[in-house]
Amino acid sequence: MVGENRIKKSFWVLFFILPAFTGLVLFTIIPIISSFVLTLFRWDLISEIQFAGLSNFRKLILDEKFWNALKHTVSFVIGYIPFVMVTGLFVALLMNGKIKGKGAFRTAFFIPVVSSWIAVALLWTWLFNPKFGLINYILALIGIAGPAWLYDPNWAMTAVIMTSVWKDTGFVMMLFLAGLQDIPQSLLEAASIDGATTVKRFFRITIPMLSPTIFFVMIVTMINSFQVFDQVWVMTEGGPAGSTSVLVEQVYKNAFRYYNMGYASTISLVLFLIILLITAVQIQGQKKWVHYA
């Protein structure tokens, strides 16, 4: 009887777990492990797969394109994160309270978030068009000769960052709104009665109370932004002159343009290590001083 029960129980456990677990093993876990193993091989998918020792890593260290991509990924992250956090927080502060037409405003901020990156990137490629784009037209109206944006190595990354901030402001706003709702209104009211100005209340109460959310948003946006690809691929393909080249774009090109499967995996390993590091920081930070709802 007991034995029969046990078999029955195992059957049910397998019944419920297997569909998800099979997918996870076949299409996530095995590929992850294979990707790490592939870093030790050279393979163009046509000739025999070749053991390459550490030569992919040697190539990585000497590869200017890789370092260029890493550098530009970092400059994307550094340009994008403070920018989107400020705009997101700003809009969240405006939205936090009794507002007429809140739903309509929220929809406006959220349409870019739910839209596909490709549609948004195409729209901004058009807006940034040097000759016929709306942006340079408006700049010209106020007497500024706009740059060639996506065609200018000095400006292309800025354009990509601006586009990304436009798309993600609503997303960051949503995260901040959730955090702002946790700040007890009584605290702000008490400070107000004691004569604290809006600015003082913001820096003395709102920001400190919001610090867990700020930390959370920073981690989330950082993990997302190191994986930047879609907008870059559509807007510039990494150009001009490699000025918007990023890590994932290099993974993609090495794998599916140059068919260097091993080397592509090696670059993706770098991305993995960066994300792992950020995750470690997140776990440490959570332990120390962050409370979540």
């Binding site: 195992s10 456990v13 019944f15 419920f16 777990i17 569909p19 998800a20 997918g23 996870l24 299409f27 996530t28 095995i30 590929p31 992850i32 990707s35 592939l38 998918l45 700003f90 809009v91 405006l94 507002i99 405003f105 929809t107 406006a108 959220f110 349409i111 870019p112 978030v113 739910v114 839209s115 596909s116 490709i118 549609a119 195409l122 729209l123 490629t125 058009w126 807006l127 000759k131 016929f132 436009w166 402001t169 997303f171 949503m174 995260l175 959370f216 948003v217 989330v220 994986q227 690809f229 691929w233 993609y252 794998a255 599916f256 499967m261 592509a264 993706s268 390993l269 993995f272 994300i275």
Partner: protein
């Protein structure tokens, strides 16, 4: 009162920053070829026309791509809900050896960026002969560690008493799962549904890798191909963008609550 006024002015300006580019998208899509590159640009088209939409569907396999995107999204959302709901049930409602360890594996995979897996995944698809097929687009994305995690958290909150009496009456796990647990988890399922739909509908990197011919492309990949083919026909490119955005915006408007909950709780947007 003056403060309130300033608030609305700032809020409106911010909202306009969001809306004007979208209006420009729609406006461009309604212009005929002769007006797209006309300076000064006009936000209200002189002679609005649906020509570019017609061209889009005539010269480009747009209908097929819409069909592909819808098919893939529907199957993937359905598949993800079923697989993750079942696994979540086992993790939240059953006790078995190795449960914690297995769950930890699910969680751990969430920390690995998807891009790490694309090279071996492509090789696997090639080996199976699934490149440029629906199987290749769909099968590798039918499971979700994130969804399993989210649903498990939701199922943990359901009180034990409900299923205990059902087991007493001789019900098996499948009955308890489908008759008691699933109905109680509806809000969590709805949240995962909209997030999974958005993620599938907007997915770019995987369809870009796995599809070759335009007939197999989903909308985002198709749009980028459209842009490559008709680079200066901005009215066509923008009408393609409008077509790709409309379904997801409709889904958003009708299920805002779930979007907002899902995104603000998890910090996941795609």
């Amino acid at each position: 009162m003056r403060k309130k006024g300033l608030l609305y002015i700032l809020l409106s300006l911010a909202a306009l920053t969001m809306i004007v580019p979208l209006l420009w998208m729609i406006s461009t899509s309604l212009k005929s070829n002769q007006y797209i590159l006309k300076m000064p640009p006009r936000i209200i088209p002189e002679e609005p026309t649906l020509d570019s939409y017609k061209q889009l569907f005539d010269l480009f396999p747009m209908l097929r791509m819409l069909f592909n995107s819808i098919t893939v999204a529907v199957v993937v959302v359905g598949g993800q809900i079923i697989t993750s709901l079942m696994a979540a049930y086992a993790f939240a409602r059953m006790r078995f050896k190795g449960r914690e360890f297995l769950f930890l594996i699910f969680i751990a995979t969430m920390m690995v960026p998807f891009q790490v897996t694309i090279t071996p995944l492509f090789i696997t698809m090639r080996y199976f002969g699934w490149l440029n097929t629906y199987l290749g687009l769909i099968i590798p994305t039918l499971h979700t560690a994130f969804g399993t995690f989210q649903l498990r958290q939701a199922l943990l909150t359901i009180p034990k008493e409900l299923e205990e009496s059902a087991f007493m009456d001789g019900a098996n796990h499948f009955l308890v799962f489908s008759r008691i647990i699933v109905p109680l988890a509806k809000p969590a399922i709805a949240t995962l549904c909209v997030l999974a739909f958005m993620s599938s509908w907007n997915s770019f990197l995987w369809p870009l890798i796995v599809t070759r011919s335009e007939e197999m492309m989903t909308l985002p990949v198709g749009l980028s191909a459209l842009h490559g083919r008709y680079e200066t026909k901005w009215n066509m490119v923008m009408s393609g963008s409008v077509v790709s955005i409309i379904p997801i915006v409709i889904v958003f408007i009708f299920s805002q609550r779930y979007f907002v909950q899902g995104i603000s709780r998890s910090g996941i947007k795609d």
